[in-house]
């Protein structure tokens, strides 16, 4: 799967989550997914990651985003949309 497709999936999933939470912000690669700049909380991040995994699975990409590797990296792959795109693309 192309990196751009991975990014689209992440953005679609993120937008859907924002919609259900009634938040409206401009979303791009630098949009934070965790930390003080993030508009979603840690539970929101869990929901997002589970949803992205399912969307990838719908397109026959079967990966577990929450691997030990993801948790042990010095720079968290969940920092923003760009870093998550990188991290998922590496695993495909």
């Amino acid at each position: 799967m192309e990196k751009s497709r991975v990014k689209d999936i992440i953005i679609d999933s993120f937008n859907e989550l924002l919609e259900t939470e009634g938040i409206s912000v401009e979303v791009n690669g630098n949009t934070a997914l965790m930390g003080s700049d993030s508009v979603i909380d840690s539970l929101g991040l869990v929901t997002l990651l589970v949803d992205i995994e399912a969307r990838l699975s719908d397109e026959d990409v079967e990966i577990s985003i929450l691997s030990e590797k993801a948790m042990s990296q010095k720079n968290s792959p969940f920092l923003n949309i760009e870093s998550l795109t990188e991290f998922i693309s590496e695993q495909i």
Binding site: L43, V50, D51, E53, A54, S57, E62, S64
Partner: protein, 232 residues
Amino acid sequence: MSRILLITGSRKGIGRYLAEYYLKKDYVVIGFSRSESDLTHANYKHILLDVADEIAVSKSVRAIFKEYKRIDYLINNAGIASMNHFLLTPLSIVSKVFETNFKGTFNFSREVGKIMSRQKFGRIINFTTVARPLNLEGEAVYAASKSAVETFTRVMAKELGHLGITCNLIGPSPIKTDLIKNIPKNKIDDLIQMQAIPEFSEFKDVSNVTDFFLSDESKMITGQTIYLSGVN
């Protein structure tokens, strides 16, 4: 629409009974075990796997979701026991018991929990035993593995509570299955005498409790344990 129910360890014993019981209620039942099942029914599907196998569990659960589009209920029934003085218990047995009882419950709960969290509905029932609150001698490893299942279930109930998913435990007292067939009769008799109701339990005592936990009306019941026979 028929409810979709997953039951681990459905080849024999309590799991087999529950599979047949819920098929009679017109549920679609998907059962799992390591060896072949002879249960055939239009609404039953059997999948061979070891519940401790993370990849097999995640692949199967995803495939089931793709086929049925939802998963309503999960009963983590698969379990093994080891009855021995702990001084005579090899570590390999400890690993085996925890692999099936704890990791198996964990694997299924996580993968099915992901699906339930998206559909904002689900019921998860895990299995413990009266050997846990009774702290039975000779069952140290088995009871400890069920302690892990209990704590895990209570925390899971909190983490999933806002998503419409309930997580509860049933703790049977002795029921005549292969699990306890090698325990000496006097040991079982001693155990039964510790119960408020000093009798063997039957399969239908289990389905009575699972019915309660699965019911739509039980949406406010989570993180709870019901032991049979008045043990607590």
